[in-house]
């Protein structure tokens, strides 16, 4: 089973600690939602967990091996990463875009090896992109682009998927769709860590919540135990509570605290 462990992560920028001694351990399947106010350090934590940012202090290890010691392509094969609002820089086709997710497995020259073709087809089918396969990505709608990027992140079948605000900029329908897909992946055994801005979506879909406040973990656990009125007041400065259960859960904001 895959184990991603963060120990005492600290990242400083301009004398300020953006992450301050964050430790967390991730094992096997389950959707982990990282929540927190703007500037709480969510994106920084995800970048460090993904091995894209070196912490000033602390270490992230994958199955006991520090990320810094894992070769870039080897890490990329095991861990997919989706930044916030990803964009394509050229009007390449959806198929090409998804194929880029196989970059860490491709030889330096030449086209897609035949044995990787099924993965490509599967990722395109799984994300319902068959109809858009040859369409330039710059002409996709926001929801379609998000699906294409997800397919790109999944095509290499990584054990870990780290996504920064996967619902940012999406309308409710597409946001729900994205979360459903991420939870589906998690239930199928993949480790999925996503920062989530929308607390209702987090409450409904996440199996575990990590709450960040001023660079520190202030809560880590199941939805019921973490999303308490006290915690919401602390990190968002609002009076709110979770009502309902499971897929019916929602966050009821009463007033600013």
């Amino acid at each position: 089973m895959t184990i991603l462990a963060a120990e005492n992560l600290t990242v400083r920028r301009g004398g300020r600690a953006i992450l301050d001694g964050v430790s967390a351990r991730f094992e096997g399947g389950g959707l982990v939602a990282v929540i927190g106010a703007n500037g709480a350090g969510k994106s920084t934590l995800l970048a460090v967990l993904a091995g894209l940012l070196k912490p000033d202090d602390g270490v992230v290890s994958l199955d006991g091996e520090p990320l810094a010691r894992i070769e870039g392509r080897a890490l990329a094969r095991r861990r997919g990463f989706l930044p916030q609002s990803p964009r394509a820089e050229w009007p390449i086709s959806v198929e090409r875009l998804v194929m880029l997710g196989l970059t860490p497995s491709l030889p330096a020259f030449g086209d897609l090896p035949a044995e990787l073709k099924p993965s490509l087809d599967r990722a395109i089918a799984d994300c319902d992109l068959e109809a858009h396969r040859d369409q330039p990505v710059t002409t996709l709608s926001g929801g379609e682009l998000a699906r294409a990027m997800l397919a790109r992140a999944l095509v290499g079948e990584p054990e870990i998927l780290i996504a920064d605000e996967p619902m940012a900029g999406l309308d409710p329908r597409h946001a729900l769709d994205s979360m459903t897909r991420l939870r589906g992946l998690a239930l199928a055994g993949r480790m999925v860590i996503a920062s989530v801005h929308d607390l209702t979506l987090a409450a409904r879909f996440a199996g575990r919540i990590i709450a960040l406040h001023q660079g520190r973990v202030v809560a880590d656990g199941a939805v019921r135990e973490t999303l308490t009125p006290d915690l919401l007041r602390l990190i968002f400065a609002v009076e709110a509570q979770v009502r309902g259960e499971g897929q019916g859960a929602y966050v009821d904001f009463a007033a600013p605290a």
Partner: protein
């Protein structure tokens, strides 16, 4: 589609090569040429074809392919459709080196002083750009601009103090030309240019990944620092040698990638080869045109012609970008 554009550009290049051998201020029929080449001993046809047109053609091919290839690499690396091989300061470094050789009179004592110092200038400029610009795309562009400015200032300084003959020679060199180049120029450029091409060829996979932006490319295991370094080395070697041998030839590196990109589905890696072929064809065709377009009997300089033809394209590109930009 993709194979088609490679074939089309290869065919265009073949036509350009044939024209470049056939066309000149002195008309020689293919039969004269064939006769001259097959009979031993020097005659006019073999002299003109082997000593004048052949090195000129080969150098044009090397220079054009270099400009097309490095233009495609830089546009992919910087994800900027207006990037051209001069962006990293390499061309202006080469220009400064060559101009210094002319200015100090080294060029009149030693035939190859200008191209050799040009290469030294190109490599020094690339080193400077890397020293100041490593670690980020924007800082690389800014460092390139600063190094370009430095090279340009050096050239102006030399022009400022140069005696009239030297100033004339510097101006001529700056205009860019492959007229009357010799096999020695080819020999000088030949070792470095393919080395540069090889380095540039290795950037393909990384450039593709960069279509997703820097963060996603990095997350896919692409080392951006290494990619930038390899691209810079490739540009320094190939563009440096090309500029040193032929002077500054503008717009080819900017235009060639744009001409082929739609045909390869805009995939950066796949623009490289057709862009190189097209760049070579463009330079050779422009050079042939320069032999035919005469004013008072004098050839128009290759670099002047490419600028004249390339500028409207640039305007078109700006207009199109303005229309499609958000």
């Amino acid at each position: 589609m993709r194979a088609a554009i490679t074939l089309i550009s290869a065919a265009a290049l073949a036509v350009a090569v044939v024209l470049s051998i056939l066309v000149g201020s002195v008309w020689m029929s293919p039969r004269d040429i064939l006769h001259g080449l097959t009979t031993p001993g020097p005659d006019l046809a073999s002299l003109i074809v082997l000593d004048l047109r052949a090195p000129r053609t080969l150098l044009g091919l090397l220079v054009g392919a270099t400009l097309g290839l490095s233009g495609a690499v830089l546009q992919g690396l910087l994800r900027n459709p207006l990037a051209d091989p001069g962006l990293l300061g390499v061309s202006s470094g080469a220009a400064f080196g060559a101009v210094a050789a002319i200015y100090y009179g080294l060029a009149s004592h030693f035939f190859f002083a200008a191209p050799l110092l040009g290469m030294v200038g190109a490599l020094a400029a690339a080193g400077l750009t890397y020293a100041f610009g490593r670690g980020g795309t924007l800082s690389m562009i800014l460092a390139g601009a600063a190094v370009s400015g430095l090279g340009g200032a050096g050239v102006s300084l030399a022009l400022n103090f140069a005696p009239i003959n030297a100033a004339y020679e510097i101006m001529t060199w700056l205009q860019g030309s492959i007229t009357d180049k010799t096999w020695d120029h080819v020999k000088l450029a030949l070792p470095l240019i393919p080395l540069g091409w090889t380095a540039l060829g290795f950037t393909g996979r990384g450039l593709d990944a960069l279509a997703l932006g820097e963060v996603q490319a990095a997350s896919l295991g692409v080392s951006l620092n290494r990619l930038r370094l390899v691209a810079l080395i490739g540009v320094a070697l190939s563009v440096g040698a090309a500029t040193a041998a032929a002077g500054a030839i503008g717009f080819v590196g900017l235009v060639a990638p744009h001409l082929v990109r739609p045909f390869v589905g805009h995939q950066p890696r796949r623009t490289l080869l057709p862009s190189a072929l097209f760049g070579a064809a463009l330079v050779l065709l422009a050079d042939v045109a320069s032999r035919l377009l005469r004013y008072n009997g004098e050839e128009i300089k290759l670099g002047v012609l490419t600028s004249l033809v390339g500028t409207p394209f640039f305007f078109w590109l700006v207009l199109r970008l303005r229309r499609t930009a958000p």
